[in-house]
């Protein structure tokens, strides 16, 4: 990591960071005060990262950092040096087919204005990664860091349950197709 003053007259020192964003390796010069949310939005063009409050309450900016959900508005880009970042843009397959969580949010009408949605989808991804069949209390605990102003949450519960079923089913299909690589632990 180097410290460098690129702009001279602006007196805005920068640091170099290297990270992986949705599977792509990225090197960049950023100011130490540059928030990860702004970095992902402005420098990487990932507008699925929404900024709703910038003080860590609303959760619209939630991304996964090394698999754990973080509020990217409370994380500095320099803190993500060396990390692997996942955003909602990385979920759909290359052929355009939606991830089961995205499909489920669509099918259960778990979004209206959509501003909170990518945060909810990423928080759901973390939740279902840890617990493939959460009950309502576990869903509540898993999504309590995100605020939705439109849906009233009931459809979000339904979407998470539906996604859990789909992912469960998909993984089982995978087991049948390729028994040798599946130990059944992490459905």
């Amino acid at each position: 990591m180097s410290t460098d003053d690129t702009s001279g007259s602006l007196d805005r020192p920068t640091e170099e960071i290297t990270l992986t964003v949705n599977g792509e390796s990225v090197a960049a010069e950023v100011e130490p005060r540059h928030k990860l949310s702004d970095f992902l939005r402005d420098a990487r063009g990932l507008r699925g990262v929404r900024v709703g409050c910038e003080h860590g309450v609303c959760g619209a900016c939630t991304v996964l950092l090394d698999g754990r959900s973080v509020k990217s508005c409370l994380t500095y880009a320099v803190q993500a040096d060396g990390a692997e970042i996942e955003t909602v843009e990385g979920l759909a397959d290359d052929d355009g087919s939606l991830h089961p969580i995205q499909e489920s949010f669509h099918e259960e009408h778990a979004l209206q204005c959509g501003f909170c949605t990518s945060g909810f989808v990423m928080a759901t991804k973390e939740l279902l990664g840890e617990n493939s069949d959460p009950d309502d209390d576990e869903i509540e605990a898993g999504l309590a860091d995100n605020v939705c102003r439109c849906t009233g949450y009931q459809n979000i519960y339904d979407a998470v349950n539906r996604a859990a079923e789909k992912m469960d089913g998909r993984e089982r299909d995978g087991e049948q197709l390729d028994e040798t690589e599946t130990d059944g632990e992490d459905r």
């Binding site: 507008r47 669509h106 209206q112 009233g152």
Partner: protein, 828 residues
Amino acid sequence: MSSRSETDGEPTAESETKTASEAFTGRGLNRVEDRRILTGEAEYVHDKAPDDALHVALVRSMHAHAVIESIDTDEAEAHPGCHLVLTAADLKDDYNPMPAGLLGFEEWSLADGKARYVGEPVAAVVADDRYVAEDAVDLVTVKYDTEEAVVDPREAREDEVLVHEDHGTNVGDHEELTFGDPDAAFENADRVVEGSYSWGRISGVPLETAGVVAEYDRDTDSFDIDCNIQLHTLVDDTVYETLGYDPDDVNLEVPPDVGGSFGTKIAIHRYCCLAAMASKELDRPVAFVEDRIENLQGGDMHSTEREYDVKLALDDDGTIRALDVWFVDDFGAWPRYPINQVLKPLSVLTNAYDVQDARYEYDLVLTNKTCQTAYRGFGVPAHLYALEMIVDEAASELGMDPDELRRRNLVSPDQMPYELASKNLYDSGDFPAALAHVRGKIEEERDGGLLDPDLVESKREEGKYRGVRPTVHIEPGVSGSDWTNRQRSERDELDDRDRDDVAELPEHLRAEVREDGTVRAFLATDSSGQGHQTLVTQLLADELDLLPSDIEVVYLDSVDAPTEYGTAASRMAVMLSGAAQGLGDELVGNLELLAAEIWDCESADATYRDGAVYRLDGGGGDGDDSLSLSELAGEDRDRDADERLTRASYDYEHPATRLDEFDEALARKFPVYPTAAFAANAPIVEVDAKTGEVEILKFYSLRDCGTQLNPTIVEGQAHGGLAQGIGAALQEEFAYDATGQPQAITLFDYRLPSIENVPEMELDHTETPSPFTATGAKGTGEGGMIDGPAAIACSVNAALEPLGVTADRIPFTPNRVRERIRERGTED
């Protein structure tokens, strides 16, 4: 004609199947808006700034009331990366004040001489990016001479300190309206019941804050402004008048995706104007993105704050004779357009009760607080809360079962359409049946459920009090007359008007057939999550016998769209469905005419069905008896643009326009809402007497919005509305201290309901089609927020009844509930 976006989502495969007997309208079709949102491709206004855009940050007053003695911008302007600092002095030479909600006020886009609330913008700094703009903001030095702040709305009327010296009083507006003969009714009734209730300052607080990208074009001397303003074709005057330009030179464009508004974003014109002014000065695109603290503190985004004194005249048998409502509404520092929120409750003056004598009086006061904007329900939620509270008080004083008192006074189905004392009409509905339905749900809960008597008793021993009190509420829908400028009219001129003086506001829809055989429709309104594209897609698919995937719906900007009303007042389902029907008829007629011209046959011999025109007279011979949409578009290609028969437009007239029944209300400029959606609610609540905390255990609701065009969207609106109602009733508030300092400037302090606060909702729906609208639909966009707080308030007080305590200040936060319990001395 410009288009703003493609509808890039395809309805799912299962929704694409259709049988002849089954229409898409009325089905819970999945939304076409979703895919772009779920994949991160949606473009909200926060994403709009081009690479060469400069960014604005604002210097905001930290004082509630202070004379601005000087503003030193030198150091900021010298800061590297800072391009411009604007103050009121810079604006006053070239621009105009912002239009005010009342005559006689002159508000500039930046504070002029005096700051009147904490967060009021005093200077605008434009720099390379927001980080450096905020650096430069810190370098602007403003010298203030502070004054005492006006904070309490009742006390504000005493005028000891004036928010606006020129106005001479803190009462911005006052009106007393009487309907029937309330004096006689109060005199003759067996008893009069009185109560005082307060409604805290709340608002919509959409997750997306305000945003603008303005670009001045020197060649044409005009502006292109991308922004997330609501009602962009109606309130564009707040922008072009301030800039001093013709409407056609200020092109407001709202992205197809807006991160919520709930009414609040009609008031973001200040930001649009400042960005536009800076762009003109600097010849660069200029962006402003409001941050959350700005939004909560000084974003002109607060809404209704009221203190009520209410009286009810009753007979001993429980017949309500008359209603007397007085309230003071704290409007903050400047009167804006949403002053009409004090009048809209007239459209549901007596809620679901049959009462013909009423008085309605208000003082609209100005204080050193953030200015009010509109919020879902537009002033009605507070009114219904005060009204239901006094009805419960009356039941208590009469010693009557509140359910029985309500039932006895409800408007009955055979009185429909029902004319209120205040001259609005309820179109249809069965209120007693709705009440009976939720009462049935409650009875089921008494039998081993949440309200099982043994369980309720054992909970009480733990200090937890359960209760429920069913209530019925009206959601007035589809505003569309110019009653909203009543307060900007000379009052004595109102008496001489008749309904011909009243402008009605239709809704516009247009469409064109494209050469690939698809149809593109254009909305003249903006939306913020309500699914308008989906709705119009399914409606037009039915009108034109096409599949939803054959329809694409895009948006018009403020210059291309006619100045119509747009998204407000639970209006769009009714207006868009009427417009889609008319547009479909228009387009089918055009296509038959075009085919007849091509075939040189009688137009009666050309008939449209299933996406093609068929020839009926057999004159075409083999292979010439039908023309597909694609072929028709091809044949129409060379015609002059304005003569093309593959294009059509339609303006659906407001449902009250032609009905004599609305004559009196329209002529007197009273709010006219021709649809009465309704709901009966029964939230089961539990109050912890030790902590004052209220938990909603389950929310039963029976809802009726007439014909449901898309039940999935209807249900979603109800869930979301009720969640906002829960927030309003129990946890949200923009409180101020005695010096005018705001107490809720982060989302830690302004507590939005999270998944932990919203209970299971069990909603049932009935459909009582409106006789006044084209499709039988009624408005449903505000329900839940309109009826939730009143319902929760009544249930909380039902729970508190054994303690002899009444909670009377919304939000019912734990400290307030505890305060009442302490005062009563009933704690352990």
